[in-house]
Amino acid sequence: MAVGVHKEATNSQPGLARTGLSDLSIRNLFIIPTIAFLACMNIFPLIWSLFLSFHEWRANLPDEKAVYVGIQHYRDILNDPAFWQTFSLTAQYVLYAVVGELVVGFGVALLLNREMKAKGVITTLLLLPMMMSPAVVGLFWKLLWNPGWGIVNPIFGLANDYAWLSDANRALWAVVITDIWMWAPFVMLLSLAGLSAIPKHLYEAAEIDRASWWFTFRNITLPLVTPLLLIAIIFRTMENFKQFDMIFTMTGGGPGTSTEVHSIRLYRMAFQSWDTGKSSAFAYILLIMVIGISMIYIKYLNKIKER
C-alpha cells in the first residue's frame, strides 16, 4: 500500500521524487534501523534481564548454565529486612532532596521573576551546577565537606574535626544538600517558565482589588505554576530514586550503610558480588516502584489540569 502511494506520488509529482525522500525510503533508512537499534539496545536487555531474574546465574561465569529458580529471587529480596531498610533510606533521601529542591528552586525563581539588572547572567550562573556531571559534583563536594581542607566547616564556624561524610548521622544530610545545590536550578528553571507565563492582567486586577501579597500568591501564582512544579517533582523524584553517581563518588554508600540507597545496593549486588539473577530481580522491583510512583504523580497532574 505504501508502495502504491509512493508510486502515485512520484507519478503525479516527478520533481519531488528527485528532491525529497519517499515514505518508503524514510522507513527503510531511518525508522527500521532505529527500531532495530532500540530492540537490540533496550528491549532485548529488558527481556533478557526479566528472564535472568527467574534464574540463578552469574555474569562473571558466562559459560555456567542458568538454573531456573522461579520467583525465589523476588521472594528473597522482599523478605530481606535489609531491602526495606534501604527502601526507607531511599525514600528519606528522595523526600528531603525533592522538598529541598522545590523550596530553594521555587524561592529563587520568585526572586528572579521581576525586572532586575543582569537577570540573564544571574539566571545562567545559577544554572551552572545542573550542567555538571553528577560524578564530578560528588568528587568536588567530597572535598568541600572535608573537615581538614573543605570550606563548609570554616563557613559555619565548625571545628576541624567535625566530620560530615564519615559520620553516620550527617552523611545523608551532606548528600541531600549537595543534591539540592545541583538540582534546585532545574526546579528554578521550570518555575521561572511557569511564572513568566502567568498573564499580567491577573496581578493588575488583584492590585486594583488591593489583594495582599499572600492572597495573590495563594490564589494566582501557586495554582497557575503548580502544573509545572508537578512536572519538576516527577522528574526529580524519578531521578533521585535512581541516584547513583553522585552518592557513589561522595560516600560509596557509607559510612556503613547510612547512604546506601537502592541503586548503590543494586550496583554492589550486580557488579561486585556478580549475583546477576538476583540483581535483575532487584532491578525489576525498582522499575515497578518507579513506574508506580510516576503513575500516581501523572494521575494527580492530570486532575490538576482538568481543574
Partner: protein, 435 residues
C-alpha cells in the same frame, strides 16, 4: 602516473601495511605506580623486540568490575591482566585465564619465584600445581613512620614517662596503639595513625586482616569452608575491636580511605605512622612528593598474641583466554622475557616488587630502597583473603558489616562478625562448598 603520485601512494601503502601489521600487546592493570613501572619495563622490551606494549589502567575501585565485565563479554580489549590475588579462582572457573602449566615447566617459574607468591597469585586450586598467572608484583601491608618524631629526645622522654618504655618502632600491636595515641594531637594538626577504612572493593578488609591474623583470629577454614565460630571467634572479635580503637587516632573524616589518602596525609607531615602496601612506598622516597623524606622510616607489621602476619596484596599476570592465537603467542613471548632473572632484576630496578627469589635475596635489592628489607621480611608472613570464585560475594558482607561497626559506629564487633559468618555460610552453601 607521475613520480610524485607514485611516491605518495607508496608511502600510503607502507603506512597502512605497517599499521596493519604492527605488533601490539595490551596489559590491563590498576592505576598506580607499579603500572607506570611496568610500562617503563615494557619499553625496554619494545626496544629489544619491536613489539609495542601498552599498560592500560583504571582506578582500583573499578578494576575488578571492569575486568570481569570484559571477561563476561568474552572481550579482547586487553591481552593480559595483572589480576589481584583473590581473583585467581574466579578467573580460572570462569575460563577467563589461560592455563600456564607448560610455560611454568619450560621456564621453571615455580622454582625461581617465591613459593608464597606462586601459591597465592598463580595456582588454583591451591596445591593442585595448575598455574594461571606469572607472579608479577609481590606486595603486602607494611608501615611508613616519622623516624624524626620517634627520635626527638623530647618526644622520647615524654613517651617514656607516660608509657614506661622506650619510644621505638613498635614490636607489638599494643605498642603501636600506644604510639598512635601518644602522637594524636588534633589541636596541633598531628594525628597518630592512618589505617585503611575504605568501603569500596577490599580496602577495609585488607586493613583488618593484618590484625585478625596476628590476634589468632580467622576468616574461615579455606580447606573445609567452615566459617561459623572462626570468623566470629573471640580472637577475631578482639582484633576488630582493636582496629576500631586505632581508628580513633586517625585524621578527621577518615571513614572512606585507602592507599592514596594514606600517602597524602603522610606527605603533608600530619601523621606519625601510616599503614600501606609496600607498592606505595616508592612515592615516599621522592623528595618532590614527600618533603619529610629524610625523616621517614619503614617497618613491617608488629606481632600480636598469635604472631606476625601481613595481609597479602600483589598480583600475577594472566593471559586473557578470549584473544586470538597470534596475540596469545605475543603474550607468551613477553612473559618468557619477563620471567628471565636479568629482566626481573630490571623490574626491581624500575621499582617493581619482584617475586624472583634470587633477586629478592640479593644484597643489591635489599639495599636499593629504605623499605626493601621490611618488604622481604613481610613476604614471609603473608596471608590472604579467600581466593575462590565467590571471593567478591564474600568481600561485600565483610566490608559492609565492618564499616558499619568501625566507621558508622553502629552495633558491636560481635554483631557485625555474626552477620558476616551467617552471610558467608549462605554464600558458601549456595556455591555448593558446604551442605
Amino acid at each position: 602516473m607521475n613520480l610524485l603520485k607514485k611516491l605518495t601512494l607508496g608511502i600510503l601503502a607502507l603506512t597502512i601495511s605497517s599499521a596493519l601489521y604492527a605488533q601490539k600487546l595490551t596489559i590491563f592493570w590498576a592505576e598506580w605506580d607499579p603500572a607506570n613501572q611496568l610500562q617503563e619495563l615494557a619499553e625496554m622490551y619494545t626496544e629489544e623486540t619491536g613489539v609495542d606494549v601498552v599498560v592500560e589502567t583504571t582506578p582500583w575501585p573499578d578494576f575488578q568490575t571492569k575486568t570481569f565485565t570484559e571477561f563476561a563479554a568474552k572481550g579482547s580489549s586487553f591481552d593480559m591482566v595483572v589480576g589481584d590475588s583473590q581473583w585467581v579462582g574466579a578467573g580460572v572457573k570462569g575460563g577467563h585465564y589461560v592455563k600456564l602449566n607448560d610455560f611454568f615447566k619450560e621456564h621453571k617459574v615455580a622454582e625461581t619465584m617465591t613459593a608464597g607468591t606462586v601459591a597465592a597469585y598463580a595456582e588454583y586450586p591451591q596445591g593442585s600445581k595448575n598455574y594461571y598467572a606469572i607472579p608479577t608484583e609481590g606486595d603486602a601491608d607494611g608501615w611508613a613512620y616519622r623516624k624524626d618524631w620517634f627520635e626527638d629526645p623530647k618526644e622520647m622522654a615524654n613517651f617514656q614517662k607516660k608509657y614506661g618504655y622506650k619510644l621505638d618502632v613498635p614490636e607489638t600491636w599494643a605498642q603501636l596503639k600506644d604510639i598512635a595515641e601518644f602522637f594524636h594531637r588534633p589541636d596541633e594538626g598531628r594525628y597518630g595513625v592512618t589505617v585503611y577504612t575504605g568501603k569500596g572493593y577490599d580496602a577495609l578488609t585488607m586493613g583488618i586482616e593484618n590484625v585478625i591474623f596476628a590476634f589468632g583470629g580467622s576468616l574461615g577454614d579455606y580447606a573445609t569452608y567452615k566459617v561459623e565460630g572462626l570468623v566470629n571467634s573471640k580472637e577475631t572479635i578482639a582484633a576488630v575491636e582493636y582496629y576500631k580503637e586505632l581508628y580513633q587516632f586517625t585524621p578527621p573524616d577518615w571513614g572512606d580511605t585507602f592507599f592514596a589518602e594514606a600517602n597524602q596525609v603522610f606527605t603533608q607531615g600530619k601523621v606519625a605512622m601510616s599503614m600501606n602496601y609496600f607498592a606505595f612506598f616508592p612515592a615516599l622516597t621522592n623528595k618532590k612528593v614527600n618533603p619529610h623524606v629524610a625523616g621517614t622510616g619503614y617497618f613491617s607489621n608488629p606481632k600480636g598474641p598469635a604472631g606476625r602476619f601481613a595481609a597479602l596484596g600483589g598480583q600475577g599476570m594472566s593471559i586473557n583466554s578470549y584473544i586470538s592465537d597470534s596475540q596469545k603467542k605475543l603474550s607468551y613471548d613477553f612473559l618468557a622475557w619477563f620471567v628471565k632473572e636479568e629482566n626481573q632484576r630490571k623490574w626491581a630496578e624500575v621499582g617493581g616488587f619482584t617475586c624472583n627469589k634470587a633477586v629478592l635475596e640479593s644484597e643489591a635489592f635489599l639495599n636499593a630502597t629504605p623499605f626493601n628489607a621490611a618488604f622481604k621480611e613481610t613476604m614471609f608472613m603473608v596471608k590472604d583473603f579467600w581466593a575462590i570464585p565467590e571471593f567478591a560475594d564474600l568481600l561485600e558482607p565483610i566490608q559492609r558489616n565492618m564499616h558499619q561497626y568501625i566507621v558508622a559506629d553502629q552495633g558491636t564487633a560481635k554483631e557485625g562478625l555474626d552477620n558476616v559468618a551467617r552471610e558467608w555460610k549462605e554464600i558458601l552453601k549456595k556455591a555448593g562448598y558446604t551442605n
